[in-house]
Symmetry: D2
Subunit: 305 residues, 4 copies
């Protein structure tokens, strides 16, 4: 029996890159948090401290800034792909790279009904994300693109029930046919291998999927959050043939009916206490029965530990 090095990876996390497009007086903004993670032959760096194979995380950070200028930031999926391919193609000893990009959304400020050329206000809560993984060099290189969104906070004030559930000796929850359902949704979807290179409009796909998620959340009469997530995921796969899997993670942000009876007041679904913790956490994946294995697509830094 010997003690051996297991898995490892390293990179630079949360590089905050802001790219202003000022080709004309009508500026555009891309506001990003970029995290890079390299996999390859770094055993010596661990076991002997020899860093000869290790590109500093500082260099990775520099590359994020340089590429924002050299390659631009048209769509985060393209920017992340450029970065991931670069690390694998151009850096010796690197076999795989994952680049996560979060994009913060801005709206243009309007004045007198007219959009302002170079002034912006942060929009919404939700963040557009992508995670591009590249493995292998040259002809053998493969790319996985997992795009998504986080912090999409939604609430429906009716059209949600929770009843007919399993009961055990620790069950005290009453059944309900009308409750608030609210969540802060994280969704990530995997583009199939063929489509990653096929030139879809990433931005249009994001906009459409976000809208589908919102619409299904609104329209499905919910018997449970599980069902709503399934219906949301299924609708995305129906609409986007190039998406092979979508994963959804939804904290159930509980809203408890305030007990106003001691004050002689009825409370027919009007006044609620929004609780922080604990919260239900519901997670599911919707996929296709012919989906190829996802490879390393879902292996995030958070999944490592």
């Amino acid at each position: 029996m010997a003690i051996v090095l297991g898995g490892y990876q390293y990179g630079k996390a949360e590089t905050r890159v802001v790219r202003i497009c000022r080709d004309s007086d009508w500026h555009e903004i891309r506001d990003l948090s970029v995290s890079t993670s390299l996999r390859g032959d770094f055993t010596d760096a661990h076991t002997s401290g020899n860093q000869a194979h290790v590109l500093p995380t500082d260099s990775q950070k520099n590359t994020c800034f340089a590429y924002a200028k050299q390659k631009g930031v048209g769509e985060i999926e393209e920017y992340a792909t450029e970065l991931a391919r670069h690390f694998v193609d151009d850096v010796e000893f690197v076999h795989g790279a994952r680049v996560d990009v979060d994009e913060y959304r801005w709206d243009r400020v309007t004045a007198g009904g007219t959009g302002q050329a170079h002034t912006f206000v942060r929009a919404g809560q939700d963040v557009r994300t992508t995670a591009v993984t590249a493995e292998g060099k040259g002809r053998d290189q493969r790319i996985w693109v997992v795009s998504g969104l986080t912090d999409l906070v939604v609430l429906k004030s009716t059209g949600s029930e929770f009843s007919g559930f399993l009961k055990d000796r620790y069950t005290t929850l009453p059944e309900t046919t009308d409750r608030i359902m609210a969540t802060s949704l994280t969704a990530r979807w995997l583009y199939g291998p063929g489509h990653a290179a096929a030139g879809i409009s990433w931005g249009d796909a994001h906009t459409q999927i976000r809208q589908i998620l919102l619409e299904r959340f609104a329209e499905v009469h919910s018997r449970a959050l599980q069902q709503t997530l399934w219906e949301m995921g299924k609708a995305v796969l129906q609409a986007r043939s190039e998406v092979t899997e979508i994963r959804l993670s939804a904290p159930n942000k509980h809203h408890f009916l305030a007990d106003l009876a001691p004050f002689g007041l009825a409370n027919p679904g009007e006044v609620f206490y929004a609780a922080d913790r604990p919260y239900g956490l519901i997670q599911c994946a919707v996929t296709r029965d012919d989906a190829p294995p996802p490879g390393p697509a879902w292996q995030s830094a958070q999944a490592f530990i």
Copy 2:
């Protein structure tokens, strides 16, 4: 010389009240964080532990929920005023009350271009606020209303310079005639005593003032954040005669130009690093030369310590 009790206050902080208006199938939502603070004759509670004058914070919380039903939550200024008056009028030993309300904004989800009757998505980053202080009972009662907003994150990608500043031996900052200016604005404005009771539309006032702040931020060619804040505040007072003072607090969210020269790349205001800390913090008030003394209007829990 004796050791004596100085100032004190107590209350319930961050009660999360969600009020659904369901008078019809077309629901409305008010999502609030309510903090109450009572001032009065509570010396014994401190010095002898006798709680006979102390209304529990739990009762204050209950009142927030009950009033959301009894009085409704039409505008947060009205709801906060009802609560503040109640504590002063109806609770013995209470001489003053401050009620802070933060309101989180929601947009209605649309599907097929149509608004959904009962489904909402969190809107924007910024939070609408009010702080209503009541002092005195009956005829002597006075009310102060300070409304505002927090977390209004704005950025302009040009139209901002910083030059001609004072230099000392620790100054290394180069002058610039073109930089990114960004902040996460907090603004609070005090309504004059006459107007508090005069039936202005609080919601309209909020919307208009928020828009003025955005427009001035966009339109003023900025020689410094101080100047921009002054212009923003001045415009609000020009537009709203019932506002006697506005205070603005603006962290200067620095965006540093990425140094791409080592990579042979020019960077004419295109690629920036968004820094976290430290940040400049610029604060100013704009008022009227005939404004009455503000009394306790600005005495928040944060100001206590």
Copy 3:
């Protein structure tokens, strides 16, 4: 009636200064967050954008780093005083300065029972603080020192009751003679004017006051958090004649007894649910009846708005 500039101040917030003392191989560490705020004649900077009187916040940041070398960081009160005096004495147009310093505590790592010369582990939750305000130049200069601590999280599992309180129609809370009392304490104490220059050991004072707060929290049989705070503050003033006022702010971190009756289990003060929000917020000051007016000592950036 005219619109005029009201109060203002500006500075650099949360500069993270780490100072290693390496005069020998036995290193010491001081880990600080420094915020500076200048007051003076900056009207033009606001109303005309002329920055001739404005020392950049970047220069203030540089000074924090330079002084950590030039003056050292023996005690945060001394370091903050050096900085505050410098800004007032050496920077034209500055009439007053406030320097806030938070110090994060580190313990030395031990190995084999021996302290390690240069390795440290973060200690505790609580943060040592000071806020030094200087006003006036030369002979007229006055200095106020408010030291304190934040985030001192304490809990007692018995010895706390809450009963005999005022009841109104919204009161549902049962009285209790035995509950958990927990808080995350913020305390700030003002040193009298004479003692600020008298060479007390700031570190010893901090250690002693922190210990007094802990002991009184432990020893006082509490009839309410108000009483406990009073007793804590009073003990500090009794022990430290140079302290003229102490302010305490204590969120009541509620621990609710879990209802285990539905499962046939008794729960005599053993199992609790630790709630997040809402929380009681209890604040009081303990002072001396001959205390001089505190001047600007308590005017923090948080108090501005």
Copy 4:
């Protein structure tokens, strides 16, 4: 091709359980955040909304509280195992359960050198963790225990270099033979299957492993964080034969030497700027070459998405 349900799980996250042991006047405290996650046959809950197989997350929460009384909270590994086994053994349709427990550490307050019977102060930054996974019922049941710690913030002020690294066209970082190395460590270690049932002292193991991690961090002259992590992990496996794998995740909390040259000051490793973002993120596993497959031991909720 059909759209199908992929993986799923659900549970209650961050139930805050505080358990006071008051068998005598000398109280003990266990302060926990408990998250449960169930896996099993819940397909219908998603695809048809039928909840007949779904035990509410509210019941799971109740069980956490009830077990804190019924079974006590001797060691978090035992408490989590009891819960995980219960869900799998006693709840129909559940095939697997994961229970994560974070334990917040408290020190006893001392007064006059004597420990206080029932008063505590939060200790340190780091959190003790465990994640117990149970799969299968009856004889086929298997248990995996992954214990660990998070937020162990450590810093060494010398004894760390970074040189001899790979350089590319985006490399600007100078080599250094003396720098600050600091991190906020997360470590998780997997106990081998035999030892999980063998009655080791979980608390002693935690204490010893934490100490080993601290000592190795202190003693290893670091050529890079990778090397330090490897040495830390290796030492843990050498000391604890029942641990089959340890994973370490270490953000490199950069401390940059302040540039004091413009002020005519030398800075030989004395004054640093502690940066927030970006940060290096270094992750590695140390294992045994005969370690059995880890099964679901590392499949956290974070790893799902």
